[in-house]
């Protein structure tokens, strides 16, 4: 039992391919701790990162991130494989973050575009990702921009742009039309872009 979850494998972060993932899920359903440890190894960093950006408090974020894997382990038998394991884990993480926000009654201020209804330009050549060197300051600016947008926009931005979930997957997860996902993504990107432009001026 002491060999479970090999802490020594912390650095072994790699995305699982579909067949390996399926095999691990099958083993987890038979209460195989070591198999679940491999899943934690593969996703702990991304899941923790997502939760940290969704929840302001670092300590609470860590608790929630642990809870994500606890719930996943408890409910592995319910995982039907229609979505990827990664999508399923982020769905759990998102639901826990929403529950946490409701409990804390901490509703992030809605990002409003009404202050500046001028046309939005998101095709600024200065936003060439290869031309942007992510220094510590700029990283902080982007992280702060993510934190200051509404939960709705932040969720879509992180799950689509960072975790690479598709429009349909997100629409199913958040129970909104695909068009709404696109709208939120566009507004979220605009918010980040504005923050970066302000910093660079």
């Amino acid at each position: 039992m002491s060999a479970i979850f090999g802490v020594k494998r912390l650095a072994n972060q790699e995305r699982l391919d579909a067949s390996a993932e399926q095999a691990l899920v099958e083993q987890c359903r038979r209460q195989n701790f070591e198999a679940f440890g491999k899943i934690v190894d593969a996703y702990q960093s991304r899941v923790t990162g997502f939760v940290r950006r969704m929840v302001a408090s670092g300590e609470e974020a860590e608790d929630i991130a642990q809870e994500v894997f606890i719930r996943a382990y408890q409910n592995m038998s319910r995982f039907d494989g229609r979505s990827s394991l990664r999508t399923w884990l982020f769905r759990i993480a998102y639901n826990l973050c929403v529950d946490h926000a409701r409990k804390k009654q901490r509703i992030a201020p809605e990002f409003s575009m009404t202050e500046n209804e001028d046309s939005i330009d998101v095709s600024d050549v200065r936003w060439d990702p290869e031309a942007i060197v992510l220094g510590d300051e700029l990283r902080d600016v982007i992280e702060n921009a993510i934190l200051t947008m509404s939960e709705k926009l932040r969720t879509v931005l992180l799950l689509h742009d960072r975790e690479e979930l598709g429009y349909e997957e997100l629409a199913g997860m958040l129970n909104v039309p695909v068009g709404t996902i696109k709208s939120r993504l566009f507004l979220a990107r605009s918010h980040v872009q504005k923050a970066v432009e302000s910093y660079r001026r």
């Binding site: 039992m1 479970i4 979850f5 802490v7 912390l10 650095a11 972060q13 209460q31 701790f33 679940f36 934690v40 702990q44 960093s45 991304r46 923790t48 990162g49 860590e62 991130a65 642990q66 894997f69 606890i70 382990y73 408890q74 409003s112 575009m113 009404t114 209804e117 001028d118 046309s119 939005i120 330009d121 998101v122 095709s123 936003w127 060439d128 990702p129 942007i132 992510l134 990283r139 982007i142 992280e143 931005l157 992180l158 689509h160 742009d161 960072r162 690479e164 039309p177 068009g179 709404t180 696109k182 709208s183 939120r184 993504l185 566009f186 507004l187 990107r189 605009s190 980040v192 872009q193």
Partner: protein, 155 residues
């Protein structure tokens, strides 16, 4: 490349878009893909060892009671199964229709012993050789009879 302000309002209000507006939004999203590339460049800090240990402990504590419970159920289940099997064996066994000969023999000898004891008892009471409450042969053993003068005079 500018987004139509009317579309922007619709986006903020999360209203449905016309086909042409939707197409325009798709184009704007394609143009802003660089934001996504930049976001993917953000690093996630590794969870601490303490975090991982905490997760392991929580999972183990969640799993341990189940194992103990399973073990208890295993032991009690086995005991119950043995008890049920024994009950079935004894109670479902057909009642004997005839007494075994060995049991009859032993029963006869027991009755004979009781009958003999009764006869000896009656004999002892009628002859005054004993009060019948104790065996005749052991009643006088180990005791010295106290002769009275009348007894001696009778001789």
């Amino acid at each position: 490349m500018k987004l139509n302000p009317e579309i922007t309002k619709k986006l903020v209000q999360e209203e449905s878009l016309q086909m042409a507006e939707s197409h325009e939004l798709d184009q704007m999203l394609s143009a802003s893909d660089g934001v996504g590339v930049t976001l993917r460049g953000l690093e996630d800090s590794e969870p601490s060892m303490a975090w991982r240990s905490g997760l392991n402990e929580r999972l183990l504590s969640m799993h341990a009671p189940k194992r103990v419970k399973a073990r208890v159920w295993g032991v009690t289940g086995f005991g119950t199964a043995v008890a049920v099997a024994a009950s079935v064996f004894f109670f479902a066994k057909p009642a004997p229709t005839s007494m075994p000969s060995s049991s009859l023999a032993s029963r006869a000898s027991a009755e004979q012993i009781m009958l003999d004891a009764h006869r000896m008892n009656v004999f002892a009471l009628s002859t005054g050789a004993g009060d019948g409450s104790e065996p005749l042969e052991t009643s006088s053993e180990g005791t010295t009879h106290q002769w009275t003068e009348a007894d001696l005079g009778a001789f």
